[in-house]
Amino acid sequence: MEGIVKRFPGVLANAGIDFSLSWGEVHGLLGENGAGKTVLMSILYGLYQPDQGRIFVRGKETRIRSPHVAIQLGIGMVHQHFMLVPRLTVLENMAVGWEPRLGPLLDRRAMREKIEALVEEYGLEVDPDAKVEELSVGEQQRVEILKALYRGAEVLILDEPTAVLVEQEVEALFSTIRTLKEQGKAVVFITHKLHEALEICDRITVLRKGKNVGTLSASEATEEGLAEMMVGREVVFTVSPEPVKSEGRVLLSVEDLSARDDRGVPVVRGVSLQVYDHEILGIAGVQGNGQKELVEAIAGLRRPTSGRVKVGEHDVTGRSPHTLASRGLVHIPEDRHLRGLILTFSVEENAVLGRHREPRFALGPWAQRRSAIRAHAQELVRRFSVSVPGLSAPARTLSGGNQQRLILARELSRAPQVVLAVQPTRGLDVGGMEFVWEQFLKARKEGAGILLVSMDLDEVMMLADRIAVMYQGEIVAVLRRGEATKRELGLLMLRGKGAVD
């Protein structure tokens, strides 16, 4: 790709980028939120047309007019946010728009055989007959990769694939990537986790504000050097919470809570926990052990089958998110597209989601205070450095990390007593992570209680005063800071109580 320029109303997403990819190479693409990584790769995949610049594929100048053309050229992409149809099975999803036809009917057998061969070859374990909505994120990602390979991808673009994975899954993904590389295929790997880039990539390109600030071989690179290239300043990778004294007030108390998942299976089974003032309580666990349902049950988004939830003195079991918010509880949801944002709404409108009825923003139900809403959005964008094409631009046009920043800004600006945070730093660049951690520690210092659910063990271990390990719907252990090593925690997460012996 040579001199790629892409402009959107209000932003220059790519400002003349050169980028090359060789066969048998894993090429890392790094850069801050909004640097233009996704846009650049979307151009290669034919989703956007560049305003200027040329693309060469196998040495020949090519115009990639649509993803269809890209696929025919052997280019496949797995997006930052998946594009699967939840109600269809894995097999059906792979067939969408790409059916090998046997007369008018879908040749399921041929498809199945080919898919099973791919599963085998690349170690991408999934059940072809499972419905996508029943799969974990990690599995959904494998489906996306399978889909691309099934369509004959020789160049595979992975946009922040590891943001949604736990460590074991990352390992599995890496071994798939290595297989691809050995076969002489090429992989573009976008990530915000520098150590991953150093581990798996051969070369690394760093983008900043739509420009290529350098391509270097991974063996020459260091985390510090890369971070500085990305941000233009030094970054810290860890924060150390200063000790603060809890007054022993219980801010959030969950008593013997049980809940079912969408299929009606009881996945939260009698969970009790307390979050105190001046405290961060981390919840560690392998995904799919009931964390999602637990959080939803606390947040008023899922009816518990039994048990209570109290915020301070108030029983809020089964109350709406609105009531919870008025008691000082905010929720940073796991899925920013499903819950956290209304993608077609503007930045302004999203900035007041959940607060749109507050007297500050509305004069009763029949009039909005538009200037107050605008000023508020402006303030959030400024304070949390959300980079947006404009306040009236739809949230859809924000880069992934900036969408997350907008949600964080909205929720943390409410001066909450209790924060329910699920994967809060997912998709954030190093600077953004640092900022969120600082915000959490600040809230903690000011007396708030934070329930932090994260699959990133390092994050939990760094921030949390206590860590509760969740396994098969139960809390199997609660440990104070420093009481367990990463390995011990990992074992608890994988095997539950049995691991302690």
Partner: protein, 348 residues
């Protein structure tokens, strides 16, 4: 500007549809210039014809607003036709039964129409919100119920059979009637009220917390729930408002155009509202233009028929083509989004 961006493809689609309409006309052996001349004269030829266009546009404006307000909340109101009939009948009832001073009487009649339609929207809204019943089906079924019910009310032997020579009620009191603009033409203040209501709907949707919630529920119910919005209540509210708007359209027909309730008075205005709402891209102010377009097609079609240059069927084909070409892209876009499902409508 977003405006022009939306309007250019629509204008293109209209030209394309008229082009194909011309080919069909020629192929079926009629004179293209004669037919198109009548279409234009019938719709905009003189003040009287323009009034005809706007008379037809009036109820279509209301039903378009009805369709789009539900659509904004993610619902399909297919039952505007029935809501229109109920609104027309009950406003007529208030018009001939009550004795009130002029302006007040009109307002009361409008309210009767709105409330009757609203009740007819509440039922499917409630069923959808509390029982998950598909509003597509329920609004349509209730629509037929309303049409037959009002037919019976004015049929011979029915309680409000008002005149011997037709199935209709008696005339409403003068105090309830909308003033008309041109002697001999049915065009009345209904169109003014319609335009006013279009602005009110625009304000409601885009400038109030209520409208914000309604649209949020339509765009992403899970995020709406997360934002503390009561999804069920908004689904009901959307269909209540949709019913009320169609009911108002019926009232406008009664108070301005017919001055009584007449069985089968609507040639399908409720259905036109679906096309109108989609042509307007679900925008309340766009609905004004969409309704005028639909009204012009109807008035022009009638002129083609009356002048005898081609049968009414051919005019309907041309109308259909225009609607199809303007609506199709929007419909396809919508269906595609539906098919891609929840995970689909995402970046980039």
């Amino acid at each position: 500007m977003r405006w022009t961006k939306e309007l250019i493809p629509i204008a293109g689609a209209i030209v394309l549809a008229l082009g194909i309409g011309a080919i069909v006309t020629a192929l079926t052996g009629y004179s293209v210039p004669a037919v198109f001349k009548q279409l234009v004269i019938g719709a905009f030829g003189d003040w009287y014809q323009l009034a005809q266009t706007l008379t037809q546009a009036t109820p279509i404006l209301f039903t378009s607003l009805s369709f789009l307000i539900a659509f904004r909340a993610g619902l399909f109101n297919i039952g505007a036709e029935g809501q229109l009939y109920l609104g027309a009948f009950f406003s007529a009832w208030a018009g001939f039964s009550l004795r009130l001073p002029p302006v007040l009487h009109t307002v009361v009649c409008l309210l009767f129409g709105a409330v009757a339609g609203a009740i007819w929207g509440f039922i499917p809204g409630w069923l959808r919100a509390k029982r998950g019943a598909n509003e597509f089906v329920t609004t349509m079924m209730l629509s037929y119920v309303a049409i037959y019910l009002t037919s019976w009310l004015v049929a011979p032997g029915g309680p409000y059979h008002g005149t011997q020579w037709a199935n209709q009620t008696v005339r409403i009191a003068t105090s309830a009637q909308f003033p008309r603009f041109i002697r001999g033409a049915q065009l009345s203040w209904g169109i003014v009220v319609g335009v006013l209501i279009a602005f009110i709907v625009w304000y409601l949707l885009f400038r109030t917390p209520r409208g914000y919630e309604l649209r949020a529920v339509g765009q992403n119910p899970l995020a709406a729930e997360y934002g503390g919005i009561n999804v069920a209540r908004n689904l009901i509210l959307a269909l209540v408002l949709a019913g009320a708007l169609a009911g108002l359209g019926g009232a406008a027909e009664t108070l301005g155009t017919h001055r009584r309730f007449i069985e089968n008075f609507s040639p399908g205005y409720g259905w036109d509202g679906i096309a109108g709402g989609l042509i307007a891209r679900a925008h309340p102010l766009g609905a004004i233009l969409a309704a005028v377009l639909m009204g012009a097609l109807r008035a022009g079609g009638q002129a083609v028929d009356r002048a005898g240059v081609a049968p009414a069927d051919l005019a309907s084909v041309i109308q259909g083509l225009v609607i199809f070409f303007v609506v199709a892209p929007e419909l396809i876009r919508y269906l595609r989004r539906l098919r891609r499902g929840k995970l689909g409508d995402t970046e980039p």
